[in-house]
């Protein structure tokens, strides 16, 4: 077990307004979320001395404009003018979960006391993906000439492999989409809060990239979320009950750029990341009371459930049936609605929900008697970070 388990905790969390596309500059969303998280902690902004983010703009072919289409650490420093700032980082290969992990490391090293991590996501007006023009450069030279465009297709090919290898049917995914949508109705910040989705809606919806229909894909939105992390002893002195970080992991495998569709690479990414989290925390999948698993595309949840060890390979679509993923089920899953319910804010919202469930602060959607709360914060092969939050330090 990890000697630093439960020495750092998530304290406050914050959310901006989520809109379908950009109405105000993205920096305004990020600022709203960060202020919300600091206020939720009961801290003053001047107490914040650490900053971390992953600012990537997933919409391709759009200009990167700091404060408008991304919100970098530099942008946040400019806005906040923190008098006690002592540490910051902007991560690349490990996604937003990696930014949280770096903040944990900085707190353990004693180079800051109260760190804020935010994720701000831009949705440009008009076309989301402006795909390569006349020429296909770099890794796309082997994919774009064949009409492989956005990330959805790369995910879709692995999903057909999974479905046909295991003799499964995509119709079973309706349970995930409908249950998560219902969960999002208990999350006032979610984009789809209050908008119903039935099994029939799912089964009759238009196909995007078979086997993905419209409701297998998270909707691009503009918004931001943020968390305050601090050391466990400091967290105990703040307003919210702390959610202690018992362990974390990151994927230790990666795919050659331009090679797509390899199901085994997805699985290896998830297995390597979760192995670290299980070993560091000392828990195993059967100990988990509630799980948040990244769902930018629905099939990511399937790869996650299997590669993290919650069920056997080929069985995840059966695993989520019969009420097992409901709030009172065997493994309550994506209890905040997931990205399918909140809109595309990437994995920091999964991390926030994992922390809220561990600290008993999830309100109407709180799962009963949670101690061990698991998070898979991004697609297993893409940037697969994993976490365990606990209510009781051990």
């Amino acid at each position: 077990m990890w000697e630093h388990r439960c020495k750092v905790a998530v304290s406050g969390v914050g959310f901006s307004k989520v809109t379908r596309s950009a109405e105000v500059p993205l920096a305004a969303h990020a600022l709203e979320a960060v202020k919300g998280a600091v206020e939720d902690s009961g801290l003053a902004m001047a107490d914040i001395d650490g900053l971390a983010t992953y600012p990537e703009l997933p919409a391709t072919g759009h200009a990167v404009v700091d404060g408008v289409t991304i919100v970098s650490v530099n942008c946040m420093m400019t806005m906040l003018k923190l008098p006690n700032l002592s540490w910051h980082v902007q991560v690349e290969t490990v996604n937003i979960g990696g930014a949280v992990q770096q903040a944990v490391n900085a707190l353990l090293a004693g180079v800051c006391k109260y760190a804020v991590v935010w994720r701000a996501m831009h949705n440009p007006k008009g076309t989301y993906q402006n795909l390569p023009g006349t020429y296909a450069q770099g890794a796309t030279q082997f994919t774009a000439p064949y009409g492989f465009g956005g990330p959805g297709q790369g995910m879709a090919v692995a999903y057909t492999r999974w479905l046909e290898k295991h003799g499964q049917s995509r119709e079973k995914m309706a349970t995930l989409a409908v249950t998560q949508r219902r969960h999002s109705h208990m999350n006032p910040h979610a984009y789809f809060c209050g908008q119903p989705l039935t099994r029939e809606d799912y089964l009759s919806s238009r196909m995007v990239a078979y086997p993905f229909c419209l409701y297998d894909c998270d909707i691009p939105v503009q918004g931001a979320v943020a968390v305050v992390l601090t050391t466990a002893d400091r967290a105990r002195g703040l307003r919210p009950r702390p959610a202690y970080i018992a362990g974390y992991g990151q994927r230790l495998a990666f795919e050659v750029a331009g090679r797509i569709g390899s199901l085994s690479s997805y699985m290896e990414g998830g297995r390597s990341s979760s192995r670290l989290t299980w070993e560091r925390s000392g828990f195993s999948p059967k100990d988990v009371d509630v799980a948040q698993i990244y769902d930018g595309f629905s099939a990511s949840v399937i790869y996650g459930l299997e590669s993290y060890g919650f069920c056997k390979e080929g069985e995840a679509l059966d695993f989520i049936q019969d009420g097992r993923m409901e709030l009172d089920g065997e493994l309550p899953l994506n209890t905040f609605g997931g990205s399918l319910g909140t809109g595309r804010i990437h994995g920091l919202w999964h991390i926030i929900e994992g922390a809220l469930q561990a600290s008993g602060r999830a309100g109407e959607r709180q799962v009963k008697d949670v101690n061990v709360s698991f998070v898979g914060a991004s697609a297993p092969i893409v940037q697969g970070t994993t976490f365990i939050f606990v209510k009781e330090p051990y």
């Binding site: 082997f142 000439p145 297709q153 879709a156 078979y210």
Partner: protein, 144 residues
């Protein structure tokens, strides 16, 4: 059957590591990068052998016979220039000669509904312009 006649495909831009693949395709030959130390084939080309870390890599012809490893049917034109072909099958092929090397392609000369995991396919060549030819795949003629 998807109508490819009005599709303008993006033109590949080779670099010095990928040029032999495109040069071979222009001659109607499918050639993949192979490690000269451990004999592992890999695709897309990479700076080193991802199997044994050797750096002596060369392109060698392969038979062009294989099976559909995975596929998707595109109903939404992420790239608008492909709109007239929708719905169409984008496939990932694993070659008999090169297990683990995965090639993207379209399934040509067949209804898109014929794309299934495990179905036998063979390479064919689709000229894009005077300089570039795309390796593509059709259902294997000798398959039952």
């Amino acid at each position: 059957m998807s109508d490819w006649s009005k599709v303008t495909r993006p033109i590949p831009v080779p670099n010095e590591w990928t040029k032999p693949f495109w040069d071979a395709a222009k001659r109607g030959v499918l050639a993949l990068q192979r490690c000269q130390t451990c004999k592992h084939f890999q695709h897309p080309p990479y700076a080193t052998c991802v199997s044994c870390m050797a750096t002596d890599l060369a392109f060698e012809p392969v038979s062009g016979k294989g099976a559909i490893y995975a596929y998707t049917i595109m109903y939404h034109a992420g790239d608008k220039r492909f709109a007239s072909a929708i719905p169409y099958a984008s496939i990932i092929v694993e070659l008999d000669d090169a297990p683990g090397a995965l090639l993207a392609a379209n399934l040509l000369e067949a209804p898109y509904t014929d794309a299934k995991v495990g179905r036998r396919v063979e390479v064919m060549f689709e000229p894009l312009n005077d300089d570039f030819t795309l390796p593509q795949f059709r259902l294997a003629r000798d398959a039952k």
